[in-house]
Symmetry: C2
Subunit: 135 residues, 2 copies
DNA sequence: CCATACTATATCCGTTACGGATATACTGTC
DNA sequence: GACAGTATATCCGTAACGGATATAGTATGG
């Protein structure tokens, strides 16, 4: 029964927050991504994911991360490195701070994506989307 | 060859701006909507369209309209009423100011919708969207 | 008949979000 | 050894939003 804060109160998400969540949710639930990503990697993932359409300077990136930590969308994970790459120089940058989606953040992301899916579907119905379903 | 300002510079749109554009683009190109909508009607349309998920107070509504006029997304249309409803009391409110999508605004809207469609499709591919295609 | 609600716009102002600049520092390359 | 890339942090100005307030007409209901 307990629900914590209502996820709908954070909707709609800003484009920046949405894409950070998407970058952290990225696909596979194996050890790679369960360990989270660090901020800089998130920014790169977003840029790649959007084909350069969305870029974040450091102000936006770390400011957004801070706000998302406060609102509970993401959480920092302790860097449990050293067990994987014994002599990995660049794989184990001490400066990095890792983040992952919280359970709450995943719920919010799903709600936002469902909302956007409805918007897109409605736009299709009104023939505002010319092209076919993208790959 | 002339292109005016690059539509991509306005992307991504904020949720509020996107929904105002959607409300003004709404469907049929007959005389009803070609004449545009007034601000208050836009706010109501957005609220109905999103099932109450997105509400705009007057500050957001008229502030956004002002910014959208400045950036050329929408344009005001002269109220050519009187030719339709002779004795329509509430149909012809002198206070109303009507707006419609500009050609530029329509292009921006299409680009933004295409962008969102890609986001949604990518989310589906990553199985972040549980439910089926919404109606 | 008067209070309340709805329509319709406008402005003010505080808060939040974003975006660029700057700073620091380490690594790898030419 | 300058330069580009990695990685984070902070500062600060601007843009966007959101609620409050104002005005004013219409309509409703007790």
């Amino acid at each position: 029964m307990k629900r914590g804060p209502d996820p709908r109160e954070l909707l709609p998400l800003t484009p920046v927050v949405l894409h950070i969540l998407l970058a952290l949710a990225d696909g596979r639930r194996d050890q790679e991504d369960a360990a989270g990503r660090h901020g800089y990697a998130v920014a790169q993932e977003v840029e790649a994911m959007t084909e350069g359409q969305i870029r974040m300077g450091p102000g936006t990136l770390y400011g957004s991360i801070q706000r998302m930590l406060t609102s509970g969308l993401i959480e920092e994970v302790a860097r449990t490195k050293g067990a994987r790459s014994p002599a990995a120089t660049s794989d184990d940058d001490e400066r990095r701070r890792y983040y992952r989606l919280s359970a709450f953040g995943r719920r919010v992301l799903q709600l936002e994506l469902a909302r956007l899916a409805r918007v897109v579907a409605a736009a299709r119905a009104k023939q505002l989307l010319t092209g076919p379903e993208p790959a």
